[in-house]
Every structure is written in structure tokens, then in C-alpha cells.
Amino acid sequence: MEKNSNSPLVKKSSSIRPATKKNLITYAVVVAFFVLFQTLSATGNLKNAYKALLVPICIYVIMAVSLNLVVGVLGELSLGHAGFMCIGAYCGSFFSVLTKDIITVTWLRFTLAFVVAAVAAAIAGILIGIPVLRLKGDYLAIVTLAFGEIIKTVVNAIYIGKDSKGFHMAMSTAGLGMEPDGQVILNGPQGISGTPRNSTFVIGFILVMITLFIVTNLMDSRTGRAIMSIRDNRIAAESVGIDVTKYKLMVFTVSAAIAGCAGVLYSHNLATLTANTNNFGYNMSIMILVYVVLGGLGNIRGSIIAAALLYSLPELLRGVRDYRMLIYSLILIIMMIVNNGSFFVALREKLKFRLKNKKGAAAESKEAV
């Protein structure tokens, strides 16, 4: 190793911290992905099917990265992440529909929608954080699951309308008692319609970058190390004076706020917003968890790649028609085995070792020359 550090190649890279280097690669991957698809799209070479995938990919990348913060970095299993997305989506949409005619500057209204949604989701994060702090492991997972379902049920039960007398809220359309000029904004199970469709790939990309910036910096900071110490050994962490409650609450809040922003992106990408099991229920929460687990717990770059790949896979598989979902689930199983099966892990280690040796040998031979 002494010898290696003399080689000009290795020396250069060792001047940056390994963590920074890792982050820079992650940023580079995202930027490269963005530039590639933006160019393809701008030059008209991108198929419509893929164009429709770009914004959703950004949404699920953000969701996976923010969930990784809870599951991978804090080490708590959360099964209600889609609930935060739901809150963000509904609050953002509600705000946008309400102010559509008042704030005509799109970027300003959209930014404000993000702020509103992030704050609302963060409050929900704190709310869920308070009972959750007393629990760990499976119990915590079940509470988050229940929380996600509660949110979905609540938004399906509420009707909110606005007329000349102000806001009305009820559990049925008839209960609203609106004036004739009234407009029902949140219409129970029919959700919110007429949200301005402001989400674009560029905005999605910017949001992914902001998310990455927040999460990677949090992980590299003193706070991040404290959070990880809670994950690795809670008792040891407490014994050195780390405030477990504070850090757990912080992680839940940050993660929820980011998920809320993903929700805004979601609700402003479609003309209609309803909450059902597939988009805001446990199905979605578990789907995002799958992205995180497959990408590697605590591995941000892995989450990004897994989310982008796994979200687009069913669409890319449309060619095989009726066997689509079957093949998709098979691929999931195979990926899990390859990722984590002891045989494949050993194989990977072997390959890595060989590659390293080769590199070492190459560097050595270079030096000899």
C-alpha cells in the first residue's frame, strides 16, 4: 500500500476524502442521467413512453432516498412512507387549486406549494415521531404502517369546499352546505381534480439534487454520525450522551418533509389526485422499501439506481405483454438473491479481490517502467 500511494494515479484521488468522492460520483450519475435524457427529449429522440416516465422516476428516487434516511441511516423500519407523500400531494394540490387564480406566477406558486407541503408533511413527521420514539423494531414498523393507512382513510373521508363565506369542511358533499357559487376542492374519495400540471423533468431533477444535497450532507455531519451510532448500538450511543429522542425525531421530520415534496411533484404531474392502496397505501410504502433494500441500506447511490431501474422496468417490459408482471416479480426475486445470497456475495467479493489485485499489479508494473 505504501508503494501505491507513490503512484501518481492514486495520489490524485486520495487528496479528496473518500466520502466526498463517493458523493461526487452520486451527483455525477444523476447529472449524467439528466443530461442524457434531457438532450434526447429536447432533440425529439425520446419515445413518448419514456418521456412519461421521467417525472415519476424523479419522484420515486426522492422517495427512496428519503426513506433510506430512516431505514438505512437511522435503522428503523418504516412502512408508512407513502403516507407522508400523500400529505404532501394533497396539501400541495389544495394550495395550488386554491391559489390558481390569485398567484399567476407559476414558479412562485409552485415553490410555495412545495414549502406548504414540506411543512405539512414535516408536522406529520413530528406527530408520528412522538409515539414512535417509545417503540422499536417490529412495533415501530406496525405503527408507521397504521399511520400511513390512517392518512389515506382520512383524505378519502374529508370534503372541503370554498365559497363566498369561506371554507367548509364536512364528511359528505351534502354536509358542506355550500352557497351556489361554492367550489368543492377536496371531494372525498374523488380527490382533488384540476391541479395545474407544473411538474417537469427539470424541476424533478432539481428536487433530486436538493434531496441528495440534504441527505448526503446530513450523513457526513456530526449529526449524521450520531444518528448512525444510534443505529449501530443504541445503548452505547446513549451512554456517550447522544440524545436519541432528538435525533430520531429529526430524521423522521426531515424524511417526511422530503417525501412531502415528492408528493407535490406527483400531484402536479397528473390531472387527478385520489388516494388508493396502489399510490398512497401500504403497497406503495412497501414498493419504496423494496427500492431501498435492493439498492442497499444506507447506500444513497444504490437507492437512486434501484428506484429508477425498478420503477421503469414494468414499463420497459410492456413488450412481453401478459407476462409483464410475472417477469417483473421474477427479476425482483433474482435481484434479491444476487444482491444478498451468500453464494453471490462470496462471488462478488472474489471478483472485487481479483480486480483489486489486477489494479495493484498494473500500478506496480507501471511504476517499474
Partner: protein
């Protein structure tokens, strides 16, 4: 160790495929049906199509997941119509190609499915099957000026854009149709309504029914409500309706609570006439249903299998012949889709759509033509469309006679 693991993987694969073989049956036969029809078309292509080129009609709906039963039925119904049209020389002499993409009843997936169909070269869209995805897709269709005809998207907002039309009645319109039916056939002078106040479908129909009943001079003597939480005991509601002397009870609800209402009314020696909305469709299929209880019950439905008119007979025999093992999909969704394809044909012929036209140009031509055509379909005779996309057709009412569903 290694061998064991490999064996495990192989066995797992084998198992998955075995399950797939069981579960995929319905869909697989559909493929083979498609193939055979394509083969038939291939044979016909050289001879019977007057023009070169194809008109491509796309479809979107849930082919997998919870709502798959609707999507599969629509797919089969539409495919049947396309096959018949191709066998008869196509639309304006062009061969029709039809392809349906899966949306898993999810708005986001429906939009990507729409993109996939556009890449395929779709010129018109028959879809989507369910309401929420339909709303999302119709916004996309508006951007592209793509002609959209949904067979079964019944929410009001599904067809907001002016290029969007539908075959089924919208939810609230069923209320109007029901009131008209009662007054046209002078079924009763005193009417009671029992509806589910926690359900938008039920509330929507009830509101429009009361409005229309007032216009038609029908006397609604009692309007009783229940919620999902209290959907087991209807004694209070039934007593009220009975005391007010209603001769007919209108039930804009699903068949499970409806059957309870009927049995509790019977226990009170109260046997009025019943009229239901299309949610009542399927009441005879309920387990352990007492057929004497539902004898004489009427409900709105776009499609009655046993109707004897020429179009229905052609549709039913064609369907049973083409998909003998999938007879359970022969329902109102398949019928709506069948009519949708024939409506597209009629409008395309009216506006002389050709295979080389852009989707947007077709959209312009079709939205005018749709308002000028009249289609004799399975779900209604002389169906016409208004510019807002809503169909006008006489409602079909089914009546249960001797334990069988008959057209009334």
C-alpha cells in the same frame, strides 16, 4: 451446498411458472384469440381491404390487479368488434389494428401506457376503463387532441376535454334516467328512496333523481339514508317508507344492502316494487339469494344478455363463439366496449378518416362527427352524442322474472 442452492433456484422458477400457468389462463386465451384473429385478418388483408394501411385504435385499462375483471371484459368486447369489422372490410376500407395496454387501475401507469400507445402509432383511444385513470389520460388526450371514447368511465370529470366522449351513462345521469323511466311507464305515484349517504355514487344518483322527479311531477314521499357503518339494519328506513305508503322504492345502491332491505321489508309484510341502479346488477348471482325475494325487481343496466334484438343476439353469440371459456366476462363492460368500437367506426366513416391522418387531425374530424352519428348498439338503440361527450340513449331496464334476468 452449491448444487442444493442451484436446485432451489430452479425449483423456485418451476413453481412460479406452474402458478403462472394456473393464474394466467384467462389472459392467455385472450392472446391466442388475438393471434387467431390476426391470422384471419392476415388472410383477409390481401383480398378484402380496399385500401393500404391500417387505422390504429388503442385501449387502456386494468388487465392485471384488483380491477382486472373490468379491463379484461372491455378488452374482449373491443377485440370482438374489431375482428367483426375487419372481417367485413374494415373502416373506410382500412384494416383496423387494436392494442390494449395495462394500467393496473392507476393514473400514473395509465399515462405511461398512453405514451406507449402513442409510440405504437395510436390514432384513436378507446379508454380508459376506470374513472380515475380516465381523468388523467383525458388531460393528456386534450394536449394531443387525441380522440378519446371511454366505454365505462362514469365519473363526470372523465370527459372534460371536447375530444372526449363516453358510452356509459355518467353516475348522476342514472338518476335522471330512472325518474324518467318511472314517469314514462307510470310505474307508481308514490315513491320512496333509500340511499347510501357515505357513497358518492349513491348520493350523486339520488340528487339527480330527486331533481328530475320534481320536474316530472313524481311524488317522492320519503327519502331515507344509511351509511356504510349502518348497512345491516334497515328497519327504521323501511318502516318509514312503508308508513308513507310508497308503492315503489328506488334503491341507488349496490346489491348487498339492497338484498337486506328487501328481506327486512318482506319480514314486515311490505312488498313494494323495486327499481335499482346498475349497482344492482349481479343481485341474482349472490350466494343463497332467495329468488322469490327479488322476483319482479327492476334495475337499470346497459346490457341484458337475454335481450332478443338483433345487435344483442349478434354480440352474445359472437362473444360465446370467440371466447367460449370466458363467458363470465360477457357483461356490461364488454358490451360498452363493443359499442365503443362501433361508434368509432361510425364516426370515422362519417368524417372519412384515413389511415395516414395524424391523431390530432382525426381528433378534430371525429369530435364533430360524433355529434352527427346515431349508433344502434348493444347498450341502446339510436345512441347519439352531445358535444359535451355525454351519450343520449334510452335506458335499458332489466327485470327479474322467474329467477331470470329479462329485458323489461
Amino acid at each position: 451446498m452449491k448444487i442444493k442452492k442451484i436446485l432451489a433456484v430452479v425449483l423456485a422458477f418451476a413453481m412460479v411458472f406452474a402458478f403462472a400457468a394456473c393464474g394466467g389462463n384467462g389472459i392467455k386465451e385472450n392472446i391466442s384469440g388475438e393471434d387467431s384473429s390476426n391470422a384471419a385478418n392476415g388472410g383477409a388483408e390481401s383480398g378484402s381491404f380496399a385500401n393500404e394501411g391500417t387505422i390504429k385504435i388503442g385501449g387502456i385499462g386494468p388487465l392485471t390487479g384488483d380491477a382486472a375483471q373490468y379491463g379484461v371484459a372491455v378488452n374482449l368486447g373491443a377485440q370482438l368488434a374489431v375482428d367483426e369489422i375487419n372481417a367485413a372490410g374494415g373502416i373506410n376500407g382500412y384494416k383496423v389494428e387494436y392494442r390494449m395496454e395495462d394500467d393496473v387501475n392507476d393514473a400514473e401507469k395509465a399515462v405511461t401506457a398512453y405514451g406507449t400507445l402513442k409510440d405504437w402509432g395510436m390514432q384513436m383511444l378507446m379508454g380508459t376503463v376506470t374513472s380515475t385513470p380516465c381523468e388523467a389520460v383525458s388531460a393528456e388526450a386534450e394536449n394531443d387532441n387525441m380522440f378519446l371514447l371511454t366505454p365505462s368511465g362514469s365519473a363526470v370529470s372523465c370527459i372534460k376535454p371536447d375530444v372526449a366522449f363516453r358510452v356509459c351513462f355518467s353516475d348522476p345521469n342514472q338518476g335522471i334516467v330512472a325518474a324518467d323511466y318511472i314517469s314514462d311507464n307510470s310505474l307508481a305515484s308514490k315513491i320512496g328512496v333509500i340511499f347510501n349517504s357515505s357513497d358518492t355514487y349513491s348520493t350523486g344518483i339520488k340528487d339527480k333523481f330527486l331533481e328530475e322527479a320534481a320536474k316530472k311531477g313524481l311524488e317522492v314521499v320519503a327519502t331515507e339514508s344509511f351509511t356504510n357503518d349502518s348497512a345491516t339494519d334497515f328497519t327504521a328506513q323501511v318502516t318509514n317508507v312503508k308508513d308513507k305508503g310508497a308503492e315503489l322504492v328506488f334503491l341507488p345502491i349496490y346489491y348487498t344492502p339492497a338484498s337486506l332491505i328487501m328481506s327486512q321489508a318482506k319480514a314486515m309484510d311490505y312488498t313494494p316494487k323495486y327499481l335499482g341502479s346498475d349497482g344492482m346488477d349481479g343481485i341474482l348471482g349472490m350466494e343463497n339469494i332467495d329468488t322469490t325475494l327479488v322476483e319482479g325487481v327492476m334495475y337499470l343496466t346497459p346490457f341484458v344478455k337475454s335481450a332478443t334484438d338483433a345487435v344483442t343476439t349478434r354480440f352474445v353469440t359472437g362473444f360465446e363463439k370467440a371466447y367460449p371459456s370466458q363467458a363470465s366476462y360477457l357483461n356490461q363492460f364488454a358490451a360498452d366496449a363493443y359499442d365503443a368500437i362501433y361508434a368509432i367506426k361510425a364516426a370515422a366513416e362519417k368524417s372519412n378518416v384515413t389511415a395516414d391522418m395524424e391523431a390530432s387531425a382525426i381528433g378534430d374530424a371525429m369530435k364533430t362527427a360524433m355529434t352527427e352519428i346515431s349508433v344502434d348498439g348493444v347498450t341502446g338503440t339510436g345512441i347519439t352524442w352531445a358535444a359535451d361527450g355525454e351519450p343520449t340513449k334510452a335506458p335499458r331496464v332489466a327485470k327479474i322474472v322467474n329467477g331470470n334476468v329479462e329485458a323489461a
